[in-house]
């Protein structure tokens, strides 16, 4: 027993030492020698202390993981796992979490106003709007990725189409937000069909790369077409939405005056929050209903097995196109909301990173799970804002998290999802992760 422990310790130390050596190889140059632009060319600033810390962290981390998790007879994770509710308890709990989140989302502005006042709650409302926008984008992308199983890395293109449609229509024709919202959705869906049509023959990662290429093409065009889109300067002065014709302005005919309230700029923020909340919930509602229609069933069948689908006489082209178009349409809606909220858009808001963030929300939340998207959006976007003071480390941590969560739970955080159809309603509580068979992608 003692000898065994000795072996374990020796083995772990050896393993950790190898890890530390690799870490030294990785970090010696990139951390230890920082190149600086100085007079007469580049110079190097040596930072061996930082390298030593990084290597020590790797050594200790690997040693700890070896001793307590990987090689231990009673891994810490198993002990911790005992505290996590079991699959069944979680699914029972899962029935409660959705209405709870819904109620919280509806009363959130009033809670904030009650506790923090209008001044204090503003930043939290802004954050809530941002999170809800991402929830909506996540749900829109979920149609394409989660239901139809088509990996789309260029989703942000449709977001951009929606935003630019509204901004340009408002600028050139003076259309109002409420007129532009459906138009932006239609235009985005149109682009979804145009871009979707040629790539439908592709599968899996090829499709992913082509959609990435399309997303970049749209961004580069927006960036270089100065006369029309304003190029890198973007478009500013995008009109704000009105509440059924009532502007959020001080004085006669404004929202506050009409309802006999004191004017407060927070009204518009609250209105925007409810606007995006309703839009997001509409996305969710439509998706959930569509899932029960033949087209939704076809999406899911397509995700599981494309060849079987074709053999059964499903028109795969149309099925994929509807998924692409619907996903794009919701992206377009969210885009025009984004434009009206910001009042200013430029191609910089629509980079590949944005697509990656939305995709990460969908995938890490659990492909095809609507609640998972909400939780992932709250955690990731909320976490982003929460760690604002560590601005420069945010994307690094984000990238690492994507890797770690994926390795730890390849099916996403919420890996159970409601069955599409069940013979016995009582048994149909949720499909566990092992039973969810993923298609080709």
């Amino acid at each position: 027993m003692a000898a065994q422990k000795q072996d374990l310790l020796a083995g772990s130390v050896k393993d950790a030492a190898v890890g530390a050596l690799v870490a030294f190889g990785l970090f010696a140059m990139l951390i230890g020698m920082k190149t600086d632009v100085s007079i007469g060319g580049l110079s190097i600033e040596y930072r061996w202390g930082a390298v030593a810390i990084a290597v020590a962290v790797v050594f200790v981390g690997r040693l700890a993981l070896n001793l307590f998790v990987w090689k231990s007879e009673k891994p810490v994770t198993a002990v911790l796992g005992g505290f996590v509710p079991s699959q069944e308890a979680a699914s029972r709990f899962g029935h409660l979490i959705t209405p709870a989140l819904f109620v919280l989302a509806v009363v959130l502005p009033f809670l904030l106003m009650y506790f923090l006042g209008s001044r204090g709650s503003r930043q939290y409302l802004d954050l809530a709007i941002l999170v809800t926008t991402y929830v909506m984008l996540g749900w829109g992308l979920n149609i394409v990725v989660g239901l139809a199983g088509l990996l789309d890395l260029g989703y942000v293109a449709f977001y951009a189409v929606g935003a630019y449609s509204y901004a340009l229509l408002a600028q050139y024709f003076g259309f109002s937000f409420w007129l532009c919202l459906p138009l932006a959705g239609i235009l985005a869906a149109f682009w979804g069909v145009i871009l979707g049509f040629p790539v439908l023959r592709l599968r899996g990662d090829y499709l992913a790369i082509v959609t990435l290429a399309f997303g970049e093409i749209i961004r580069v065009v927006l960036l270089n077409w100065y006369e029309f889109t304003g190029g890198p300067n973007g478009l500013s002065g995008i009109p704000r939405p009105s509440f059924f014709g009532l502007e959020f302005e001080r004085g006669e005919g404004g929202f506050a005056h009409f309802f006999g309230l004191d004017f407060n700029s927070i009204h518009r923020i609250i209105f925007l929050y409810y606007l995006i909340l309703v839009m997001a919930l509409a996305t969710n509602f439509v998706t959930m209903r569509l899932r029960k229609l033949p087209v939704g069933r076809a999406w899911e069948a397509l995700r599981e097995d494309e060849i079987a689908c074709r053999s059964l006489g499903i028109n795969t082209t149309n099925t994929k196109l509807t998924a692409f178009a619907l996903g794009a349409m919701f992206g377009g809606f969210a885009g025009s909301f984004f434009a009206t909220r910001q009042g200013f858009i430029s191609p910089e808001s629509f980079t590949f990173i944005e697509s990656a963030v939305i995709l990460a929300i969908v995938v890490l939340g659990g492909l095809g799970s609507q609640v998972g998207v909400v939780i992932a959006a709250v955690v990731m976007i909320g976490g982003f804002e929460f760690f604002r003071q560590f601005e420069e480390y945010r994307m690094l941590v984000f990238g690492l998290l994507m890797v770690v969560i994926m390795v730890w739970k390849p099916r996403g955080l919420i890996s159970t999802r409601a069955p599409s159809i069940a013979l016995d309603r009582k048994k149909a509580k949720g499909i566990s992760a092992d039973l969810v068979q993923e298609g080709h992608g």
Binding site: T35, V37, I209, V210, A356, E392
Partner: protein
């Protein structure tokens, strides 16, 4: 005509760089069927390591030529070795645990790894672009034509000669490695059938790791060339170069090594001619469009084998 030849020379140089990166994509795709999305960033890391070594060794244009070439060889070896460690680590951490998982999982960790690498370099080395004084100046005048609008000189710089020659040497060595050595044999076996290869006593995990190591080493060479040729690098160069090199791999037929080189040359030429004759702003659009067009109309590429879909 002279302008055309000049662009041809520039295009071949650029194409050599893309080709070297494309090999990394094509090998990994051939062996485990995934797009190593972080490969472009491995190339970027390679360029940074090369830059650091060059500065640390104090190499400047004033170094005597023979010493300069020796020193650059040393830079190359160090950059290849350290970048290979990065390639190995990314595979070990982000891809190996997901082998056998569903097909999208490694692609998502690859995107995560790519974002992490970019931001790691941004934090550790600073976000500003790093300019490097040209180390090897001078060029050979091939010929000169005097026309009504003045004279036009067709020239090839020493740097371009160096890049093209080094690429040819590396390609020769690499082809030898793949076709004649036991490692290459193991790699080709894994490519055809991983399970069977494992049954026949090939260490599949090790072979895959070595594939990543080789890909990363070649990306480091490309990184050094990029650094010497353009003279400026920043943490973001990996994304565009990666997409273009991937396009090259697809164009040549993914999984095929000569295809990757051919595709790299073609992409380099297309990009150079596009920016020479049409517009500079839309040169990236050209590369992206080619990617889409090739994938849609001939997904097997120029030299690849068509993929048969089976139940």
């Amino acid at each position: 005509m002279d302008y055309f030849i000049q662009q041809l020379i520039n295009g071949v140089t650029l194409g050599s760089i893309y080709g070297l990166i494309a090999i990394g994509y094509t090998m990994v795709y051939g062996i485990i069927g995934m797009i190593n999305f972080a490969h472009g960033d491995i190339f970027m890391v390679g360029a940074f390591i090369a830059l650091i070594v060059i500065i640390a060794l104090g190499i400047t244009a004033a170094t005597p030529l023979l010493l300069l070439i020796l020193a650059l060889c040393l830079v190359l070896v160090i950059a290849m070795a350290l970048t290979a460690v990065w390639g190995w680590t990314v595979e070990r951490i982000a891809y190996r645990p997901l082998r056998g998982s569903f097909r999208l999982a490694p692609l998502i960790t690859a995107i995560g790894a790519s974002i992490a690498l970019q931001n790691f370099v941004q934090i550790s080395q600073g976000a500003r672009t790093k300019p490097l004084q040209p180390l090897l100046g001078g060029n050979i005048k091939l010929w000169e034509t005097v026309g009504p609008e003045g004279s036009f000189v067709v020239q090839i710089s020493y740097m371009q000669i160096l890049i093209i020659v080094a690429t040819l040497l590396l390609m020769a060595g690499f082809t030898f490695l793949i076709t004649k050595t036991p490692l290459g044999r193991a790699q080709r076996a894994c490519e055809q059938d991983r399970k069977m290869a494992a049954l026949l006593g090939i260490n599949v995990d090790r072979t895959i790791s070595l594939t990543f190591v080789m890909g990363a080493a070649l990306a480091a060479v490309a990184g050094l060339m990029f650094l010497l040729y353009y003279g400026v690098i920043d943490f973001y160069i990996g994304f565009l170069a990666g997409v273009k090199a991937f396009t090259a791999a697809v164009l040549g037929g993914i999984g095929s090594l000569p295809g990757a080189m051919l595709g790299g040359l073609l992409i380099g030429l297309i990009e150079t001619f596009w920016s020479g004759y049409f517009s500079l702003e839309y040169k990236d659009v050209a590369a992206f469009s080619i990617l889409a067009i090739v994938l849609i109309f001939m997904p097997e590429g120029l030299l690849g084998k068509p993929e048969v879909e089976k139940v």
